[in-house]
């Protein structure tokens, strides 16, 4: 590969991250919100691989592995929490959880 491929990966990463952010902000279904954060993590991952390509070492990919780990951790925990919330309210609507404010 020549120099420019990393840039492509970074741009893809940035776009994925942005789309993830938008998804997190707009979709009210908690599962989809969660998928959106995973998309954000995808963006980080792509970015990291691009950076690693640029630097020519494996540090970026190493960090990428741990990004995967964190994603798995949060997914596991998040699903448990979503199940708990669903049991309480019977809905996956994130907007339902807004009794405390002000």
């Amino acid at each position: 590969m020549e120099m420019a491929a990393p840039q492509v990966l970074m741009i893809v990463g940035a776009l994925l991250f942005g789309i993830g952010v938008i998804g997190f902000l707009t979709r009210r279904n908690m599962i989809v919100m969660f998928l959106s954060t995973e998309i954000m993590f995808q963006g980080v991952l792509t970015n990291l691989v691009g950076m690693g390509l640029l630097r020519g070492d494996l540090n970026g990919q190493a960090l990428g592995i741990f990004v995967l780990v964190i994603a798995a951790v949060e997914a596991g925990l998040g699903l448990a929490i979503v199940v708990m919330l669903y049991r309480r309210r019977g809905t996956l609507d994130a907007d339902g959880w807004r009794t405390m404010r002000g």
Binding site: V44, N59, A62, L63, F66, A94
Partner: protein, 552 residues
């Protein structure tokens, strides 16, 4: 190769703590065993404290640290460990009554995991470990909130904290990836590290390199979630309100300390050479955080929410000192060294905050189905000065400390923070006006803060007691915690010496870490240039920072 023995040596306090936590998890299998969870936790914490104490031996550290690049041991880490363990002990005791019978083992173990996370944040010397440690701090707290109470508010708090936490974690991680991309290193300090890259690229690199800046800003942004700093503060009141009061006391300290330590690492990557845009970014962040926190707290009628927003304001004060960094001479006293001021402030704040929430938890509302529903509204506290005079006194002392009133440790904390900013006005003439304005904003905020803190004391002492509003929680551990906090608050005013001295040497140590990396770098540059000069390295090791700056 893998240097196992020095690694264990360096990580001994964390290993002790994590082992303790895992053992406690195992006791969860039996009901009788799980009763001893608090005792075991205490043992683990004491074990970790002893191991930390062993670490004050510099030679041992130096030999071990040379072979483990991923860690950053020293006084800084030890100070963080000591404070976290000491406050952690109080947290474990304070939460003794919170978990339900079957959940005690998990609850205590998760608390210990979280404490270990903070210690690892201070130790981490690469971005991977730093990020994992930050996650280790926050993941248990998500669960603790959910476990602490059964009612709908606790679940709402869990949901908000978890989703927004994951969101902020992604932002932090994105920032880390840019730090890596811009510099090509994951290591924070030392040779072949991001901070060395910064020195190598010259101090102008910051202004020129948008990507490095992006990395720093996104990381700080993500960490601002843990700090509850300005644009990331929204969740604070809801989450604090939803959690059980003693868990809130923990939330006010543990993630915030972790975030602060991580922010010190991240901003430290710029060698505290904040001449450029990062200065303004942090300036805005600090000013906004103080103002937002105090004005929102001013509006509150619910004490938990008030203290929540006030914790935002405290982050603002600390960010103000973060702006100063270690000051010009990098040593001396907490009156000149912003980092030392932060470290001192954090300890005092942690104790006062925990004490305040513990007294709130002790004032239990009777007649609620939820056994651990603490007093929340100002009117719940009315007249407690007469009906529960010692608890009200402890609450008043802790609140006065948060206010920064003389005769409490909080006064010295604020004095150090403001003093360090004042001291640096002379050192940074190009930012003099900005710093003066910042101090003025801080002073105004402190005045607003005094107004709402006094409302808490006023309702304790000036309002008439109401029938059947509060009853003490039958938990002697909780009582012991607020007694200890209430006593520590004035003690820290009269005897701040040890703590302040340790804070100063910790700050100095973190500074030396940066400087050591620089010296190494310079030495290597000399080597490659073939310059064999015996005088130079000794001169540098004496004042490494200055020489590194001069070499730019």
């Amino acid at each position: 190769m893998l240097a196992l023995v020095p690694m264990i040596e360096l990580l001994l306090p964390e290993i002790v703590l994590l082992t303790g936590a895992t053992v406690i998890l195992l006791t969860g299998v039996s009901k009788t065993l799980s009763r001893s969870a608090t005792l075991l936790a205490m043992l683990a914490i004491f074990g970790a404290l002893i191991a930390t104490y062993r670490h004050n031996n510099q030679e041992l550290l130096a030999t071990a640290a040379a072979s483990v690049e991923a860690l950053n041991p020293g006084f800084f880490a030890n100070y963080v460990r000591m404070i976290v363990l000491a406050v952690g002990l109080l947290i474990v005791f304070a939460n003794r009554h919170v978990p339900e019978e079957g959940e005690r083992a998990e609850f205590v173990a998760l608390t210990l995991y979280s404490l270990a996370g903070v210690m690892l944040v201070a130790l981490a010397n690469n971005l991977i470990l730093l990020f994992l440690a930050l996650e280790l701090v926050s993941v248990p707290t998500y669960i603790l909130i959910g476990l602490s109470r059964r009612d709908i508010e606790a679940q709402e708090a869990t949901a908000k904290y978890f989703f927004l936490g994951a969101f902020a974690a992604a932002i932090t991680l994105y920032g880390f990836s840019f730090l890596y991309g811009a510099t090509g290193h994951l290591r924070l300090f030392g040779a072949d590290s991001i901070s060395a890259w910064f020195i190598d690229g010259g101090s102008t690199a910051l202004a020129n390199d948008g990507m490095f800046l992006l990395g720093v800003l996104l990381s700080i942004g993500g960490l601002a979630f843990k700090l509850a700093a300005a644009p990331f503060h929204f969740y604070v009141a809801d989450v604090y309100q939803g959690a059980a009061a003693t868990v809130t006391g923990m939330l006010g300290f543990v993630p915030k300390f972790a975030g602060m330590v991580a922010a010190i690492h991240i901003v430290g990557l710029t060698q505290w050479n904040l001449s450029g845009p990062v200065f303004w970014g942090l300036w805005v962040l600090a000013a906004a955080t103080m103002t937002v926190g105090n004005t929102l707290a001013f509006m509150q009628y619910n004490v938990k929410r008030m203290l929540a927003y006030s914790s935002v304001a405290h982050s603002g004060y600390m960010l103000m000192a973060l702006l100063i960094g270690p000051g010009q001479d990098g040593s001396g006293s907490a009156m000149r060294n912003g980092l030392a001021a932060i470290l001192f402030y954090m300890a005092v704040y942690g104790i006062a905050n925990l004490g305040a929430f513990c007294t709130l938890a002790w004032f239990r509302k009777p007649g609620r189905d939820d056994a651990y529903q603490s007093a929340e509204l100002l009117e719940d506290l009315s007249g407690t000065g007469r009906t529960h005079r010692w608890a009200a006194l402890a609450l008043a002392l802790c609140v006065l400390a948060l206010m920064g009133f003389p005769l409490t440790g909080g006064f010295l904390g604020k004095l150090y923070i403001f003093g360090s900013v004042f001291a640096s006005i002379g050192d940074q003439p190009q930012h003099a006006t900005a710093l003066v304005v910042l101090v003025a904003i801080g002073a105004l905020n402190a005045a607003v803060g005094a107004a709402y803190y006094l409302r808490i004391i006023a309702s304790c002492y000036w309002d008439a007691p109401r029938d059947g509003r509060v009853a003490p929680t039958p938990c002697s551990a909780l009582q012991a915690v607020w007694v200890v906090c209430g006593m520590l608050v004035p003690v820290l005013f009269f005897f701040p010496g040890t703590l302040a001295r340790n804070a100063v040497s910790a700050a100095h140590d973190s500074q030396m870490k940066v400087a050591a990396g620089n010296a190494e770098l310079v030495a290597r540059a000399d080597e490659t240039a073939g310059a064999v000069d015996i005088e130079k390295p000794t001169a540098r090791s004496a004042t490494p920072l200055k020489s590194a700056r001069a070499s730019d």
